[in-house]
Amino acid sequence: MKYRITHSTLYHYSQPVGLCQNEARLQPRNFWRQHCHTSYFDITPEPIDFQERLDYFGNRVTYFAVQKPHTKLNVTAISEVTIFPKQNVLELFNQIAWESVRNILQGLPLQGLSQSQSQQSQVLWQNQDYAQELFDAKQFLLDSPMVKVTPELAEYARISFQPNRPLVDVVHDLMARIYNDFTYDPTFTTIATPLSDVLNFRRGVCQDFAHLAIGCLRAYGIAARYISGYVETLPEPGKQRLTGADASHAWFSVYIPNSGWLDFDPTNNTIPLDQHITLAWGRDFSDVTPLKGIAFGGGQHVLSVSVDVLRIE
């Protein structure tokens, strides 16, 4: 499946901004499920200073500075991406119990595995790539700026974490529960709404649901990360597709030893396949904010965003 994504952000300021520095994570990264063919920015006024690099998590990040006075700033990123519709092949470990995953991540001996499985895992331990993969996963085990594990989160998740239950089942169950228990309500939360409020009032948006699931998983020693991206929305039957009416989206991913990272979308209660386009991942939203900047001057600002996800093949 091939898509063209156009993501525009327009800032209007009540007073001129003399200087602004910005950081954008608006270019889709490449990984086994996705290939980004082209991706470029169209920024007005044109930034004097523009620099691309990869961040700590391997995401594409762009630094740019606009150094002349302006009252409007338009940042548009246009990308073409192919999605390969396959999920992880969960041959050996897809039935691995969540306790075993927790122990592996803690570096403890595995329990409840047959002799041969255990030997196989020993072999894996010595594998360089696997060691690197495990090490990377550990970054996503601990509290992060926007997701702090609390007893309340652990309590909410407890029902899903039945003893010896395969981790994949646990996450499926957790995702479905969040989907059923929580109301999608864009008027309820802002970026600053703490997770405890989301949990108490059972309301939120995609970002909150992703954070919630991540917190629940980390409470039980499971590595989980936050994915920022887009989802293709199809018009209702008989209606015309509206350009720019799409939006950015967020979901989460869980680490399963030897299989890698498996994505889950709690807002839609689905496993992302070929309609989810990944921009970047990190410990939580704060690591992958699509666009942020520091502006000098400007007075009040109004911001409008339009996203268009167009299937081209």
Binding site: C20, L141, L142, P186, T190, A250, T267, K292, G293
Partner: protein
Amino acid sequence: MRNNKSSADDIGAQYYATQLGIYDEMYAKENKALPYWERFMAALNSMGSEKLELRRREAQRLLRENGVTYNVYGDSQNLTRPWRLDPVPLLISSEEWLVIEAGLKQRADLLDLILKDIYGKQNLLKKGLLPAELVFGHEGFLHPCVGALQNQKRHLTIYSANLARGPNGLMWVLDDRTQAPSGSGYALENRTVMARVLPDIYRETQVHRLSGFFKSLHKGLVDIAPNNKEDPRIVIMTPGPLNETYFEHAYLAAYLGYTLVQGGDLTVRDGRVWLKSLAGLQAVDVILRRVDDSFCDPLEFRSESKLGVAGLLEVVRRGNVAIANPFGSSVLENPALLAFLPRLARHYLNEDLKLPSIATWWCGQRREREFVLQNIDSLVIKPINRSIGNQGVFGGALSVKEKDDLRSQILAKPHLFIGQERVSFSTLPAFIDHQIEPRNAVLRNFLVASGDDYEVMPGGLTRVARQKDNFVVSNQAGGISKDTWVLAPEPDKPVSLWTQPKRNQLIDAVTEPLTSRAADNLFWVGRHLERTEAVTRLLRTVLVKYRVANESKDSIDTECLRVLLRTFTQVTGTYPGFITCEEELLNSPVPELLSLVKDVYRRGSLTANIQAFFQAAFSIRDLWSQDTWRSVDNIQRRWQQRVIGNEINTDQLPNHLDDLITGIVAFTGLTSESMTREAAWLMMDSGRRLERALALIALMRSTLALRHEDVLQNQVLEAVLVSTDSLTIYQRRYRSYIQLPLVLELLLLDETHPRSVAYQLHELSIHIAALPRVKVNSQLSEEERLILKAYTDLRLCNVFELTQTGEEEGIYADFEKLLYDTTALLWKLSESIANAYFSHSQTSQLIAHKSTEDEL
């Protein structure tokens, strides 16, 4: 105050010996004092406790006058706390120093390697030599900094460690300071003061000098400059005057000749960092930062920080600025690291640690966690992340419930906690309440990377607790500092910070650029000072008239007093005051007047003005000479002691006001005799001239612009002349004829009279023309235009025409209009100067999605 016990040997070694508990610095484990201590104590003893107390007070006076303070956060009323210095130093023998020095160097080497790995390849983590949770769970680990270290021989440029001696006589490292270590400036100031108050003893004891360390510090900072290696621009970045060690930031800036900057003074453009100076943008090569790393760049770290510079980390990445210490170096302040240092020392250096750390168990490991939980009663439990109010708790001091809570906290997130051995530090003689008593001591050492090696300051900052048997030794907790004397086998040669130019080398005189923030503060120092003076002079006049009116009961005196009271309200801008008030207030004005003197929270009050002057001056502490600062301190302190701290009445007040005027004159005299006529002077004097003109005009508008009957008019004219210190000159010029046009001639138009409006505008025109600016063609700048108009309008007027008026009118309309227009122009001028020169004041804002409304 005489101490009863005062006798010749009450501070000697023998008396002291009876007070001892555990290991003491003077006695070690012997029954006899160590020889170098014995010599020192004999010298003290021959001085006697009374004389020593005098020396101690002398030291406190010097420190106070030099403005050595330690601020306590959250204590806005008592913002600056005087720095306390005990006259008994810590003595360290040259043999022992070699051991300490080698241990500290080894530790700095090791920490530097760990830092390089954590922000580089992370091999320690991948190989399991350092647990990942230990690093990732620490707030000092800033992932945007991974890969941002530049090509330097050493990354940890500055390092500091707190040492204490355990009961076994060995020195232990308590903790490491790696991101922005403080204290070296205090150590230097302590030494300067000690050399002055105990000159004989200091001279006779061969003590290593400290200045060499600062020379190395400078060299170390020059070494890491990525550009302009010949003569890099180095700045010290401070969070500002509210920071607890602000004195030291200003002190080091002045001592090393660097510009002291706040985040707002810097800007990132074209991938470089620039200093916003009065003369335009100046490239910065090295930043010695005293701002915590996560506050340094709102774009990549904490977005709410107002202390940093947006885009700074990106400049670091591109190798265009060096930061000492690099961002993220606070990851080394994680106390859990102490448990792993011995292993890492063997891994990297193939050595054992020369200085042991205090025994530490990290709860992220199962066996260690179990040990800590089992021995919670005898351990100090600390979170690995330093947070305000949680410095660690002693398990044994907790209630059963508190202990259970702590246990469950540890079990929930074990990697965030450590257990540490509770150490009783050695004691050290301290002069407390006229006696020498043992106090627990902590020594802070300082190192700087110098080429391939580290150099250790031969000395340091020793601190003792105020109370006996108290192991919490910190400045926040009100500790006392000590000088640290490292004994030299032979006398040290003095090291000068000055470098000798090569023969015949011409050196450009380059004054460090004045930051726009400093310019702003200078401007306001001038304005607040002048306002204080104007209010003081007017108040004196009011008080005289009040006394006269009370004595004479003459209706003209009473009427004149009322004019002056209303004027006082208008000049201070403290409406409604005496303008629209009950008859009662005009009849007994004293409470309102005293409020306008004392009330610090009342805008326009004398105390509020003095406070504002002091704050502005303190914000640019690094720019004042010692003498000038002493005069600033005098103004504020005397006012505080005599007026604020006392019940005062209107009889005593004139004396205090005279004293205040003397203080102000001392400051203006010192500044005009010692400041070069460069940007700093121009800014401060422009502030003064502008304010003096405004105050004069305000005074005239509510006195001279109003028509009074002749008898009253004479009194008002005289009061105005007195209040502007112009009566004598008027009398000499015009003898006893007192007339409005002549008074105006003197106060409005006489360019030779430093208290006339014309004089202020003339000076302002000259200053404004001399300020640096970017010239656009031959056009006048906005400031030049405004002052030219104000000055020309004034010169074109005629005092006799101004005072013509119809019989019926209550005011001199033309005169009032002139005053009104001039005021408006001067206000515009003030704004225009701010726009043109104080660019740091522009506020920044985070622009990002405020809500997720537009997301799925």
